[in-house]
């Protein structure tokens, strides 16, 4: 049921004590061994000795992605190279790659974090884990692999690709748990169905652990239904470790953070101020045990909130809510933070509306005005004015309830919503354009 019951169900008081002890160690590990942190702490006028409580962490400066790029390749390493067991690197699609090192202990901790998620989908040392994440510099494959080995599973390292063979392993080797990206899980399911299987009935599989890319609620449901499995959402980022920083239990009310290994804060993305518990904002992570690449207050740019209500699964570690998006996507409308993903969520609950949409922001006078353009699905009856107006009103009411901002819904003709070659342009901000 639990992989490390003593840690996962530790009392909050004990856990806080452990976090403080480890945070002190981590601050020293960074300050004493990494030039960057020495300079940045000194610049802010703080030393590790200034940390007396967990809240004191707010006195310390942030580290951002660019700092990691600047440190390429090894400037953030806090241990000599002979202790570095492995390095991972994130792809540098928008600039210099970032390199993260792991000691043998770091890798062991990583395996433990991921193994907790395997237990969350009912896995044990009896289970067979198929890892269809890519293996390599990307942390998905080897991270899940380490989790499977830590748990004592039979691991099938299929890596990604060759989808028919993936299906063959699911069918023939009795895979219990599949770990891969959500889009690949869906692709595997569809391929299996095309090959004539009903994976929900024909395969033994009972759980999937999916992460590394966003998945809508609909997509998760589709994966669960097609494969007949429990869906576990896994959060992680290569800068911090990889998959396993937080994982979703069967209660599905968020992802349990491995709080013995990571300390999470939520800050206002504009001011950097720590926000009260439960508010939505940018996730900032401090590693508590990492030896090779300790990170103090790393700005993830992921937007979520912390869920601290006790979980029915019995784990005491707090949770992060499903990610709302990246801070880069956030819109501020009449002072309210709105994410395109929230609008998307509302739209997907309306089967009569197509998933194409566009948000147009203007300001008439001092107030922001939000117009949402949507198209009806091709088979939606367009013949009755009353039904179309009713659909518009229902959508507007639902959006108002979810976003706390009034949205003017406009049903438009198909193809009026601009589609670019790659990603559709979802937001058109015309505020400040008019006189």
């Amino acid at each position: 049921m639990y992989y490390q019951p003593d840690i996962e169900t530790m009392s909050r008081e004990e856990l806080s004590k452990l976090q403080l002890e480890r945070m002190k160690w981590s601050l020293s590990q960074a300050y004493e061994n990494v030039d960057f942190f020495k300079r940045s702490f000194d610049g802010a006028g703080v030393t590790p000795d200034d940390l007396e409580s967990l809240e004191d962490l707010a006195k310390f400066p942030f580290i951002v992605k660019q700092d990691m790029r600047d440190a390429y390749p090894y400037d953030l390493f806090a241990v000599p190279m002979k202790e570095v067991a492995r390095i991972h690197a994130s792809s540098g699609t928008t600039g210099q790659a970032t390199v993260v090192g792991h000691t043998a202990r770091d890798l062991e901790n990583w395996g433990d974090c991921f193994a907790r998620g395997i237990a969350m989908v009912g896995g044990s040392d009896e289970s067979t884990l198929q890892v269809s994440y890519g293996y390599g510099l990307f942390t998905g494959g080897l991270g899940a692999h380490a989790g499977g080995e830590a748990m004592g599973c039979t691991v099938i390292p299929t890596s990604s690709g060759n989808t028919k063979r993936q299906v063959q392993f699911l069918a023939d080797c009795g895979t219990d748990i599949l770990a891969c990206t959500p889009s690949y899980a869906l692709y595997i399911a569809d391929t299996a169905i095309e090959m004539g299987y009903d994976p929900a009935k024909d395969f033994k599989i009972s759980g999937v652990i999916c992460g590394a890319e966003p998945a809508s609620e609909n997509m998760r449901q589709e994966i669960s239904d097609k494969l007949g499995v429990q869906y576990c959402d896994v959060y992680g980022l290569s800068e911090i470790m990889g998959p396993g920083v937080a994982m979703e239990c069967a209660e599905r009310g968020g992802l349990h953070i491995a709080e013995d290994q990571f300390y999470c804060e939520i800050v206002d993305p504009d001011t950097g101020e720590v926000l009260p518990e439960g508010e939505w904002g940018e996730l900032v992570i401090t590693t508590l045990t990492r030896e090779c690449t300790p990170l103090i207050r790393y700005r993830t740019r992921d937007v979520t909130r912390i869920v601290s209500e006790p979980c029915a699964c019995g784990r005491t570690h707090r949770k992060i809510d499903r990610l709302r998006g990246r801070t880069d996507d956030m819109l501020i409308i009449r002072g309210v933070n709105v994410f395109p993903s929230q609008i998307e969520q509302v739209i997907t609950a309306f089967p009569e509306v197509a998933t194409q949409y566009q948000i147009i922001l203007t300001n008439k006078g001092p107030l922001d005005h939000v117009e949402l353009h949507v198209e009806t699905e091709p088979d939606y009856p367009i013949d009755t004015v009353r039904k179309l107006e009713d659909l518009k009103r229902r959508l507007e009411a639902e959006l108002k309830a979810n976003l706390q901002v009034a949205v003017d819904v406009k049903i438009v003709e198909p193809k009026t919503i601009e589609r670019s070659m790659g990603k559709a342009k979802r937001v058109i901000d015309k505020r400040g354009e008019q006189a």
């Binding site: 198209e375 013949d383 004015v385 049903i411």
Partner: protein
């Protein structure tokens, strides 16, 4: 029941002419057209030849178009023609979504109406109304 071509239009300059131009360019003859409009959008209801083919052609051209089965009856082109039909619907508890009529030749008109429960042809016939057939209105 006859098939009406229904097209959703944004209430913006030029959308209606774009629609009629597309239909004209395909060499299709329109027999009647009615526009329902709100502040933001309009619905064009059209009788034309080969409605299903035209709906598909418009969909391919990027319009939101569909065919809608509607009821149509011949009524004498004289005072009270439409009133008698509506009286009947009222007494038979038939809810009309929308209705319109147009004149055919000199002495008859065709009343077109959309109801919630679609097939009321038999009830109309029994009540003595003359149902309009598709061929009365358009070619296939």
């Amino acid at each position: 029941m006859i098939l009406q071509l229904t097209v959703f239009l944004q209430n913006e300059k030029g959308t209606l002419s774009r629609l009629t131009r597309t239909i004209a360019d395909a060499g299709i003859n329109m027999h009647a057209m009615f526009l329902a409009d709100t502040a933001e959008f309009g619905i064009a209801r059209i009788f034309c030849d080969a409605p299903e083919k035209v709906a598909q052609m418009l969909t391919d051209a990027g319009f939101r178009a569909a065919v809608t089965p509607v009821n149509a009856v011949h009524v004498p082109n004289e005072p009270g023609g439409l009133a008698r039909l509506l009286d009947f619907c009222n007494s038979a508890d038939i809810n009309i979504e929308y209705a319109y009529c147009f004149k055919v030749g000199d002495d008859t008109a065709i009343d077109v109406f959309k109801v919630e429960n679609e097939n009321i042809d038999e009830a109309l016939r029994q009540a003595g109304f003359r149902i309009a057939e598709p061929e009365d209105i358009y070619a296939f």
